[in-house]
């Protein structure tokens, strides 16, 4: 096994899968010669040529719209949208076409493609480079939304996403692109889409998170050491379709929960998760569920970004509140 960070793990997954499957085409801005602004596609154009790793004109709707066409014709396109904030012009294509074509054509036309997007804040980037649009995407019928939280997870989940018969948006938490280095399984290994990961078992309270904040949750666990709070941590890793069973099973055991996400609070996925718990495990609850989230504001510029991001301190406070109810 090799130790890799998330950028390297995704690069490896792409490289290996392109060796196995010559239907794969990578397209996006700066993905070729430069190897991507985060170097995720580094070396791939040199290896596979500029027909399979393509620098496109600067046009996000163009990238995903043509990716859909490629997928219709039997290729397996992997589109890169350079940053979260530039995904928005793609929503027309994603919502009106990519997510609907299977249903509209009664299964005659399908569109298995992957749209990779570095997302989220915390890297002191300029405006529009720190968005967490996952709830909008999860709210869109016909597409799956996958978010890895570690390098090994990224590799296994990406391979599943590429092989999935349906369109997958693969959100990469850019804040932890290089923050975690861990052993990554070599070769052909997949992690199923739609299954949550039990990060830590516990009986006292369930913490539900995904993406970069999983690490913040683990930091909160550190801070709570000695408090005798028995925490169970669930990394959802697919937010659509969500692993409802994993959530409910855990709630039945703990009776308490905190949901953590970086996206704004209102209509964030926290709301959906709490509604699901109400529907399926209401009588197991021993305390109201807490949310630790971003705020209903544009993500601030770098001097104020720390105000916005959920941090261990806020998570600790929420856990204590839930435990003391």
């Amino acid at each position: 096994m090799v130790k890799l960070n998330m950028v390297e793990a995704i690069n490896l997954a792409l490289r290996e899968e392109m060796e196995r499957d010559d239907r794969i085409v990578i397209l996006g801005e700066d993905v070729g010669r430069e190897g991507g602004v985060f170097r995720v596609t580094d070396g791939l154009q040199a290896r596979f040529g500029d027909e399979r790793v393509v620098d496109t004109p600067l046009a996000e709707a163009g990238i995903v719209g043509t990716a859909m066409g490629m997928a219709l014709y039997g290729l397996r396109p992997i589109a890169e949208i350079q940053f979260d904030g530039f995904l928005y012009p793609c929503l027309d294509q994603i919502t009106n076409h990519i997510g609907r074509i299977r249903n509209r054509s009664r299964g005659r036309f399908t569109c298995p493609l992957v749209i990779r997007v570095p997302y989220g804040g915390g890297i002191h980037a300029p405006e529009h480079h720190s968005e967490s649009p996952e709830a909008i995407l999860a709210h869109t019928p016909g597409i799956k939304v996958v978010i890895p939280a570690t390098p090994n997870e990224a590799k296994g989940l990406l391979l599943s996403s590429i092989r999935d018969p349906d369109p997958v948006i693969f959100l990469e938490p850019k804040r932890i692109y290089r923050a975690i280095r861990e052993e990554v399984q070599e070769g052909d290994f997949t992690i199923p889409i739609g299954k949550a990961r039990l990060v830590q078992e516990g009986r006292g309270v369930t913490i539900i998170a995904w993406g970069a904040v999983v690490r913040e949750v683990l930091n909160a666990v550190e801070e709570l050491k000695g408090n005798k709070i028995d925490m169970e941590i669930i990394d959802l890793r697919t937010i659509s379709p969500m692993d409802v069973d994993a959530i409910i099973t855990s709630i039945r055991k703990t009776g308490r929960a905190v949901v953590v996400h970086e996206a704004p609070k209102t209509c964030g996925l926290g709301a959906e998760i709490i509604a699901l718990i109400n529907e399926k495990a209401f009588l197991s609850l021993q305390a109201p569920i807490e949310r630790v989230t971003g705020f209903d504001i544009p993500v601030p510029l770098l001097k104020s970004e720390h105000y916005y991001l959920p941090n261990p301190q806020r998570i600790v406070a929420a856990v204590k509140k839930v435990m003391s109810f």
Binding site: E34, D55, P57, L58, F86, L301, K303, Y307
Partner: protein, 357 residues
Amino acid sequence: MSLFEDYYSLKGKMFQMLKPDGTLYSEMGAPLNDQETLQLYQRMVFIRLADQKALMLQRQGRMGTYAPVWGQEACQVGSAHALQKGDWVFPAFRELAASLMMGIPLKTIYLYWMGDEEGSRAPEGINVAPVSIPVGTHPLHAVGVAWAAKIKGDKTVTIAYFGDGATSKGDFHEAMNFAGVFKTPTLFFCQNNQFAISVPRKIQTASETIAQKAIAYGVDGIQVDGNDLFAVYTATKEAVDKARSGGGATLIEGVTYRFGPHTTADDPTKYRTDEEMEPWKPLDPLVRLRLYLREKGLWNDEVEKRLTEEAQKEIDRVVKEAEAVPAPEVEDIFKYVFAEMTPQLKEQMEYLKETLA
């Protein structure tokens, strides 16, 4: 014949006035008098140094990511000089020069890149929109403002600055089309600096020039030497006058070169060699103007030294001022979202304050 007929974009001619050696192309006189020219040169020296300072501040961890204007000063100074004070400017993210020319204080520009929201606040009476990072989205706003001015019967002109990469975006085409259909007093100023990050201009479009795209929208288009202050000024002035007198929009392609990295987060050695840059170096817009002024007896080493020292002093003073601005308060991220803070935002703000207490 108007400039735009003379340089009709299918003729494949680029409009130039000042040769790289600082002499004028035959018969055409200079469009600006000596004093104005020297003043604009002085602004360009200031801008070059303010830009370099930003790069340095970023390297020292005193500023966030920054997109330098280095090499594109003539495009921005020449075009902005052709505008009037109340005109509306929609910059992309590389417009330090145009913004300064229109009256945005350097301190404001620095604050923006230092990550302070106050850096997006234009002073009253100065109609420069905040930086637009989503590429190619803002030309539509320039068309909208121009259209509104036309509806209201005002003589306001608008200009959108954007790059070669931006011309690939759908929004750019929608903006050009609306400007053509509604004959809005809008200038589309494309700084073709040959790259969109690593992607070269020829991958961006199969059109021979960017200026040609105007034809399809029934709008005038002209390609100018973007490192030639006189040509940029003259073409923009003509487009501004035309727009103000009801003649509609113009697309100006300024052919230039980005001397610096795309932003401070970029490593250009990944996609371009020093040899590629070599032919552009003698075409530096400042060098050309300096040669012109020297010929006129208006420039020498002494003058350069004085302009540089004056600029440096002012820039250092501004940096000090910008760095002395206190860190933003919690309220600052909540209070401008709506005219009146919603109950949700109030609750979230109170909660945040508690967690910080």
